[in-house]
Symmetry: C2
């Protein structure tokens, strides 16, 4: 069985256990407490020198980090990765967009607000995240007015990547009300068979 190291408060980790559940992949879940600095220990850094979660460990000990690399690996060969060369590249386009133009705004604002309680010394930084976050949401909404999912009318791993922090964006101060395309898409994903919410550990352990 594969092992996933992560923390259920992290959207990046949520991507991995949501995919595992959707695809019925049994996983052994090892909790790594971010707030307690458990990803920063020398022991954990032997597994991932970048000191980040999630981290996937195969039965033979091989290791894979980066949430979007992990979910594409787990979904390889499934219907969640298109066979078509161009559509497969569009999955990656959305995933790199997520890590560069979405997560650094929405996930960071959420962390400062929800987990640090919006301390005075990070308020300016929190506020500076709002414009970039709304820009990312607008770009997603524009596409989701045109297709049911981000790459096409079929669910792909790109949707899982973007869903993770988008569906909790309000916890970072982002009002999703104006984004009707995003809201309909969130409902579509919530209705998937084998969907599990964030903060629920994977069923298979």
């Amino acid at each position: 069985m594969i092992t996933l190291y992560g923390d259920i408060i992290s959207g990046n980790c949520y991507k991995t256990y949501l995919i595992a559940n959707l695809l019925d992949i049994p996983v052994h879940w090892v909790n790594v407490d971010i707030m307690a600095g458990e990803a920063q220990t020398a022991k954990f850094q032997q597994k991932n020198p970048n000191a980040k979660i999630p981290l996937l460990e195969l039965e033979d000990g091989r290791l894979l980090s980066e949430s979007n690399a992990i979910i594409n690996y787990l979904a390889d060969g499934s219907a969640l990765i298109p066979q078509d060369q161009f559509l497969k590249a569009k999955v990656l386009e959305w995933q790199f967009f997520e890590q560069y133009s979405h997560e650094p705004f929405i996930a960071v604002a959420r962390f400062i607000n929800k987990y640090q309680g919006l301390p005075a010394e990070r308020k300016a930084e929190y506020e500076s995240k709002q414009a970039g976050g709304h820009k990312a949401l607008s770009i997603m909404d524009k596409q989701l007015q045109k297709s049911d999912y981000l790459v096409s009318d079929q669910l792909t791993t790109a949707d899982i990547s973007l869903y993770a922090y988008t569906h909790v964006a309000h916890e970072g101060g982002f009002d999703l009300t104006p984004y009707s395309g995003i809201n309909a898409w969130i409902e579509r994903i919530r209705s998937l068979p084998k969907y599990i919410g964030m903060s629920l550990k994977p069923e298979h352990q």
Copy 2:
């Protein structure tokens, strides 16, 4: 013929024309002047609402953004993308590492220093990038002490992704002297047949 929109001062754009040259893919190059704000125009945003370069346009008008998505698309089916499922995921791991843990430090410090002339109002930000940049370089060097290239002893698109800003990291104030693994790897890449340097436009136009 495909069209690439980009600016030769950008490492993200360099990835795309270096790959095209290595793989002998003819491209039509359209210069988009970053310093003049040409990626921010309404006209360009019709092609990429995220207002970023590089951008790939196929002959039929389909568009693909995000440098690492573009290079994986161009290299799909070549020896630069491993067939093995796990090694293919390791390529993505390094590419997501590049966009989240390397580029925001090294490329941004280089831009502030080389293209903005290190203005007083960005000096603190420039200095704040040094620790993260050196952490990323250390992680790369650790791997490059073990294998000739990042994923294995074979060149992959992950190497092109990381090479782009690493080989000009000194322009962001990062002294590469201590990283012997990185220096040997830079020489290996520079010696590739069909290698072209940054700031040289693609041969095929």
